[in-house]
Symmetry: C2
Subunit: 420 residues, 2 copies
């Protein structure tokens, strides 16, 4: 099966929005084993959109659109698709009910033109949208081909695709796909590459790498006629990856919702442990990243942002002499920050970070990117010296990941001790 994505909207051509939908849909299609050869972006122009549809249908089985499902005259995605299908748009009662309900729920007044959002060709499969006012649809256009309409906002498009389009695509391709998302910290892409020779060899199961700041994620996907058969294909590959990468793997799950913050918060919760932070260069980002994880309120007690040097003494009791003697960017100060924070908040684990995010302030001895992470728990205090590279936001982001990894490892160790 070949698919092609058409993103519709003049705002994309003007650069007003970033096309995250194309990436999301591409990843999902790749995960389903569906080939993609082209993507198009067109503005809100009926003639050009029709040409884009016809071009896509000349080379793909399924065309997936995002955007242009609203009530205004600029919203032409459905109208033009109906023309390509050779059908009229008619009011679909199930869609009408959904649209009315959504407007009631959002306390928004319905205008007559909002009813256009409930109109589809008679043989379309309507995708009821619990996340917004515009339903999507799977529109047959003849020759066994389809145009799938999804709303533009990612918070609507993503769940709608996952819940309603993905199962339909999987069923049509007659295959069941099972994946494992394997998250790796502390190894670069080339390290992972060297240790795993079969990376990106293709075939079934497949193993594809995705890189983000300081991390590599591997997606292992197997396709088979049944879930059990797919699992059977997947298991030896996952074992092989585990044998090759060992402790560098911090999370394995069957969807891509994992993250270092989630792994840290889950390790804390599993041990019934509480954490606090003492942050200098990250300015609150370690704590803010943890509280993004639902359920963090059981694990994250609070923390300190000690950005100016004197605040480290005032809030955390780091002795001015220690700062004077060792420098504010030092293992000693990181240790004293973590100890001070833990004593003040009475938690199990305190994590701290001090360092130089740049662009200025570097010296030959302490270049930009010099960072110390401190960790303090009933197991004692230890520090992690880091030499990070990149610009200001990247150095911060890497510091946060190292700090969260330190919290995760400490929580696992404490839990292990509890069990003895």
């Amino acid at each position: 099966m070949i698919a092609e994505i058409i993103c519709v909207g003049t705002e994309l051509l003007m650069g007003q929005v970033l096309n995250t939908n194309a990436q999301f849909l591409s990843r999902e299609l790749a995960g389903l084993g569906i080939t993609q050869r082209h993507q198009q972006v067109v503005g809100d122009n009926a003639e050009r959109l029709e040409a884009a549809y016809r071009l896509a249908l000349s080379r793909a089985d399924v065309v997936i659109t995002s955007g242009g499902l609203g009530p205004t005259v600029d919203d032409i995605t459905k109208r033009v698709a109906a023309r390509v299908a050779g059908r009229e748009l008619v009011l679909r009662p199930e869609a009408e009910q959904m649209v009315r309900e959504r407007f009631r729920q959002y306390h928004r007044e319905m205008l007559p033109n909002n009813m256009s959002q409930a109109m589809f060709t008679p043989d379309s499969k309507v995708l009821l949208n619990p996340y917004g006012t515009a339903p999507g649809a799977i529109v047959p256009v003849g020759n066994g081909q389809f145009i799938v309409h999804l709303p533009g906002p990612p918070r609507e498009l993503q769940p709608l695709f996952r819940e309603q389009v993905k199962p339909w695509l999987a069923e049509r391709s007659g295959r069941t796909l099972v994946s494992r998302y394997i998250r790796i910290f502390g190894l670069g892409e080339s390290d992972v590459d060297n240790r795993l020779r079969r990376l990106e060899e293709g075939g079934n199961p497949t193993l594809s790498p995705y890189c983000s700041t300081g991390e590599v994620m591997l997606r292992a996907t197997a396709s088979a006629e049944t879930e059990a058969a797919a699992e059977a294909l997947l298991t030896p590959l996952v074992s092989e990856v585990q044998a090759a990468l060992g402790d560098a793997i911090y999370d394995i799950r069957s969807d891509d919702s994992g993250s270092m913050a989630r792994a840290a918060v889950e390790a804390l919760r599993a041990g019934g442990l509480k954490v606090c932070t003492a942050e200098s260069l990250t300015g609150g980002l370690i704590a803010a990243t943890m509280v993004e994880v639902p359920g963090a309120s059981e694990a994250v007690k609070g923390g300190f942002v000690t950005y100016m040097t004197e605040s480290k003494t005032e809030l955390l009791g780091v002795p001015a002499e220690v700062i004077e003697k060792y420098n504010v960017v030092s293992a000693e100060v990181a240790a004293a920050m973590a100890e001070g924070a833990r004593a003040r908040l009475g938690v199990d684990i305190a994590v701290s970070a001090t360092g130089l995010a740049g662009p200025g302030g570097g010296t030959p001895e302490r270049p930009v990117g010099t960072v110390f992470v401190g960790i303090c728990s009933p197991l004692g205090t230890r520090t992690l010296p880091l030499r990070l590279s990149g610009d200001r936001p990247r150095i911060r982001e890497l510091t946060v990941k190292h700090a969260l990894n330190a919290v995760r490892l400490e929580a696992l160790q404490l839990k292990g001790k509890q069990q003895k």
Copy 2:
């Protein structure tokens, strides 16, 4: 002039990278007043790329490519463009020198195939790349049409475009462009739309809206033969916008580097003022957003993350009775948090936030999105009750913007008092 962007790379079709280049180039082209009607993404396949070039050249004057300039057999962008131009690739000495220099500089070994990175058609204008190993080029393809090659990594593509392609495009269109980026907080897009009837009317100068979380940015752009003439066109439009939107405008500058965090930090620095934070639902994000601004170290002293209820009492001295009586999400607690933080850190301004980010925890009286921002300074303590909508990250992001705006306004008022 009509331009079309073709992004080349199977990694885009696999969803392994987000296509930020398309957005960057689209914004830049819009800023130059160059029309764009289509974008394409194609994989590393010569036949399909050639078809994409021919399609683009059937409807655009300039085709801009990103990616595929490396030394491997998969890097086909230049080779296929040369075929379309009907020319051979030849080694260009200035490009060869650049490539050799870059490898020396990066301490990387040069392989024989790296020389292919220095090959272009004889009449191409080579774009020497100070940011990476692959030069770009402007390739004439006949009929007064061009294919422009840019490297894929955004940190190379962006400066190369701004420094070498943009002036060439401006010169070809015979115009100079001057812009103002006007940032607005507290008004929705439809409010801005209603107050400014000439929005998106086109013509010269143009006024285009860009929306992001809780904010609208207007870009006013004038095009003329000289910069002075463009400025003269722009001035009345900017005055008109100022008259219509008044205090909702928080920043105007000639590039798009403004942000609420920058405006807040600049207002603090202008008044020689220091700030601290006391954060509950945002978990450190208000402070972390401020310290992203270079120069924040002169204005941001530090802060407190008081995520669990008891930490508000322990760290900030918020009386347990106040929390008991008014609820932890209340104006009274927000006020006590700000006052406690200011007293403890001895700064000019303290800002606090307490609220419900969801998804759980809402009640009819305090639904998810109920947030109180507190601000405390020599002018006294005040609180800002907010009812925000959206998911967890959006409620946090909106809270941060409201808090930073409150800091900005307080700093401006304090500075005004200093001057009296």
